[in-house]
């Protein structure tokens, strides 16, 4: 294959444009990621302020309670105990270990629940989620969980119905996928509030892996409650 100078010039111009476009988009990606990171940090800061005393209390409880786990080295939480209270005397702390792991989870997620602002409730599913959050804040995690499970089923059905649709449903599917991530996060909080930490864990892991809006918070809770790194 032989290309003449005119064609080669055109390819050179194309290459210049493509390289510059790629660079511009790469810069854009970096800027957007920084923006997202800053947004997350702001959210987390306000969350800690809202959670304030609760969080401090939770940290103290975690430090005191997880120590029995240290003796069973395979149990998650052992590392956290060392991290939170490296200088504490183990015999003193052992005396004070009446709080269960479930209580620890409740304490740890209290600040997150407190900081949830009113959920956008335009219509349909969002309204259901808003109602479930209200129940969660009222201290009725079992009711909240039931409502969230019901909403999740409805969202799943809607998504399944859209599976065969053409590309026009893209925006709606994305919206529903984002809603599912929210639902899973609130379900995890509801389960933690009920002290059901075993059931909450896979949900938290899923939320963490999603790298979505609640991912960093899920990572923190996994770290705080289960001693995950």
């Amino acid at each position: 294959m032989k290309i003449d100078n005119t064609e080669l010039d055109r390819l050179i111009e194309d290459a210049v444009v493509e390289n510059a476009a790629k660079k511009q988009l790469m810069d854009m990606e970096i800027r957007l990621r920084e923006k997202e990171k800053a947004k997350k940090q702001r959210r987390r800061r306000s969350m800690w302020i809202a959670g304030g005393i609760c969080t401090a209390a939770a940290a103290a409880v975690v430090a005191a309670v997880v120590l029995p786990f240290r003796e069973k080295s395979a149990v998650p939480g052992a590392t956290l105990a060392v991290k939170v209270s490296p200088d504490s005397d183990s015999t003193d702390v052992k005396k004070d270990t009446a709080v269960s792991a479930g209580d620890r989870a409740k304490a740890a997620c209290r600040s997150y629940i407190a900081s949830i602002e009113s959920y956008r409730s335009d219509y349909g599913f969002e309204e259901e989620i808003g109602r479930a959050i209200a129940l969660l804040k009222e201290g009725k995690p079992a009711d909240a969980l039931a409502a969230l499970q019901k909403t999740e089923q409805a969202v799943d059905s809607r998504l399944a119905a859209m599976e065969g649709d053409d590309d026009d449903s893209f925006a709606e599917m994305t919206r529903l996928e984002n809603l599912k991530e929210d639902i899973e996060w609130y379900m995890a909080l509801a389960l933690l509030s009920s002290g059901d930490i075993d059931a909450a864990r896979p949900l938290l892991e899923k939320v963490k892996e999603s790298e979505g809006e609640h991912s960093a918070d899920a990572r923190d809770i996994l770290d705080e409650v289960y001693g995950d790194r």
């Binding site: 010039d9 390819l11 210049v16 444009v17 476009a21 511009q24």
Partner: protein, 190 residues
């Protein structure tokens, strides 16, 4: 979904390549969410794919395959492009040759010629990427930022628009020589 600043495709057709930034910001999140779910990609891979889909749209605008498209249709168009790019990636291990027709429908790959052409373009991209300054900046200002030569003269401190014209011509000549040499070395030209 917030749409920014006019019709993106019309802006690209008119040479405003910063419309790519608006396209990127508007469609990035839904594209990534969709790719993660439907194509099973990580966030990083989905972001890479989205960048390639955006560049693909730019290519199609430049070679006249897209002349009109409403902003609202662009999301679906990007997704179709991304899906095809991903399939090509898997099939050809890195050689992307997606062609999208005027109506937004993918055009079938027409065999060895386009693959060879894509390979050549890849080589030329490497040459252009490694071309030293002032040529690199000059060519970017001229062909990507679409600056007028008088403006380029001002930015780069040349005496006049004519000096810029001469320099651009020299830089292209230089890129041509290096590109031909590379193409010969790799057996694409006799």
């Amino acid at each position: 979904m917030r749409l920014r600043g006019g019709n993106y495709i019309q802006r690209l057709v008119g040479g405003d390549y910063y419309a790519l930034n608006d396209i990127y910001e508007t469609f990035r999140s839904p594209f990534i969410a969709y790719s993660r779910k439907s194509l099973n990609l990580s966030v990083d891979d989905a972001a890479d794919l989205f960048q390639e889909a955006c560049v693909c749209i730019l290519q199609n605008v430049r070679n006249g395959k897209i002349t009109r498209l409403e902003n609202a249709q662009l999301g679906a168009y990007l997704m179709t492009t991304g899906r095809l790019l991903n399939a090509n990636r898997v099939r050809k291990r890195g050689i992307e040759t997606v062609e999208i027709g005027r109506t937004g429908e993918p055009v079938a790959d027409d065999g060895d010629d386009s693959a060879e052409r894509e390979e050549m373009l890849k080589i030329i991209r490497d040459v252009v990427e490694n071309i030293p300054n002032p040529c690199s900046t000059l060519l970017t200002l001229q062909y990507f930022q679409m600056k007028r030569q008088a403006e380029i003269a001002q930015i780069m401190g040349y005496e006049s628009a004519d000096s810029v014209k001469t320099m651009v011509s020299r830089c292209k000549g230089k890129a041509r020589v290096i590109a031909r040499q590379k193409l010969r070395e790799l057996g694409y030209e006799d």
